[in-house]
Amino acid sequence: MRVSKILGMALENLKQRKLRTSLTTLGVVIGITAIIGLASLGEGFRIEIRDRMQQGFELNNLTIIPGSLFAGLSRQRFTDDDVQNISKISGVETVTQVMQIGNVTLYNGNKSVQAFVATAVNFTEFIRIFSDRFVFESSIPLTKYKNDTIVIGYKVNHPTENDTRPFAVANDSIVSTLGVPRLEPIPHVEMQNYTFTVRGTLQQKGTPGITNFDYWIFIPLDTAREVYKTVESDLIFVKVYDREKSEDIAKDIEKLFPPFRITILVPLTFIKQVDNILSIVQLFLMAIASISLLVAGIGIMNIMTVSVMERTREIGILKAIGAKSRTVLTMFLAEAMLIGLIGGVIGVFTGYGVSYALAYALSRFIQPQQQNTTFQNPTQPQGLAITPVFSPEWTIAAFAFAIIVCVIFGLYPARKASKLNPVEALRYE
């Protein structure tokens, strides 16, 4: 018997039992809808998160901090030699060291503000590394930073939300109190006033990664070294040419130091791990969704077993007029396959439909609260804008899965039908 005829007859048989076929197919539709819906929504979610993190993290930048989380943070600090050695590593674009001074109070006339993080940096190198975030709101064009330069972060300069007047503007002369350690007569910290000229105030940029410049103030590294009588620094920032090589470069940097001496924060590694976790969660969700398809398969087996019983006489007739067992088997399998096929096609469409509807609902109803956290980036759009991802591979896989499940579950009743003894089948009432 020709395949086209078998398929035609199978389709006719299914049409004869419209309600039963529809309900059986509905099971497959629900299963495939769940799989496709979760897969496309999950992938959209994963990509959204990854993109946001890629925007949020400066993937080309590595942060080196002394010591290790496991072996205790080190009191040792970095030297110019360390910076020199790191800059020699292939793939490294810029290296800069930073001295952290702690919190300071700034005075501008009768106004004062608290800056939580005062940092001493090499401005030229620092701007090269953080070109996206170290953006001036107002500045004096400078080719060379002077020893009395101070740059103020947005939140330091605008301490209260409603106060439109900034603490300082470019060219203001302000006083900063720095705590300077003294050894004589006994070790103590002596508060000393230093006068700086505001050379720039920064735009609000939020926090990609672990540093939020909004709360920082910056003074020249050389000035800080003179004040504190030291040539050591607390942090090293490294910019690499190729973000994809950042993990390899981090390994090369680690080799320059004794074990547990430093910790390198590699944004790419973090993003990869989050991406991996999201992929696993996505697979897990799809596995749960697959269970509904298996349930649909059992439904098919159930319905087909009943159908074989009902059509026993018909099977007997077909065999009497010369149909082979194989033909009967194929006829029933074709019915199961068609259910999978129809259910699969509808399920793929409804799956994508549902994923778009859910994505819309999520973006509509899950609006994050307006927060002023250090981890907020005001340049990014608010709300969860997930675009479900259409994947031809998954579509084909889900489709194939539907057909395979249906055929496997249809196999038992189909075999039962094909093995019927024609004489007994003809006698069946």
Binding site: M1, I321, G322, V423
Partner: protein
Amino acid sequence: MTSILEARDVNKSYRMGKVLVPALCGVSFDVEDGEFLTIFGPSGSGKSTLLHLLGGLDRPDEGEILIDGTNILKLSDGKLAELRLNKIGFVFQFFNLLPRLTALRNVELPLTIAGVPDKETLDRAREMLKFVGLETRENHRPYELSGGEQQRVAIARALITIPKIILADEPTGNLDTKTGWEIVQLMKKLNEEKGQTFIVVTHDPRIAEQADRTIYLKDGLIEDIKEAETARGTRR
């Protein structure tokens, strides 16, 4: 004339629960090509069992059945199905048409199974329906046809592969007298015009009157075989 069908010492039993019930006990006879043979006997005499064995629907426990020279015991299930498709046509008491198919589609079915091209299948099915006088009823489903018409469709279906042997199990058993007689006449016409061999299991003496030979079965044994003249004579 040559034998188209041979039964040699055929035994067949059925298991009913724990009891083995003999249906046929050492039945032997030949059927000649083009013969119109009836098998007569009371209920439970083994008539239908014998017909099923002769048609290759079942296999004997012992003995041999040769259909057109082929021993059906030596055939695989697939080959046996092929043999049924090509050499045998079945006509049943309850017509056994597929209820969801039209008359035409029912008649086409054996050729569809055989994989014959659509055009040829359609032409031959229409020809067969015309032959049995149902050319105007081809798009009717079985439930839209009378018993006699259904049996004509069944005969057309049995004939479409041009089989050498037509096996009929009580073909008039479910029809009124007049319709039954028309069916008998149709079978006789086919036998005479197309030379096809007919083996008919029946209770209907009118069919036996048309037969070349009648086998009388009782309790799974051949009680008597009567040639046409003798058979008619007995009834007179």
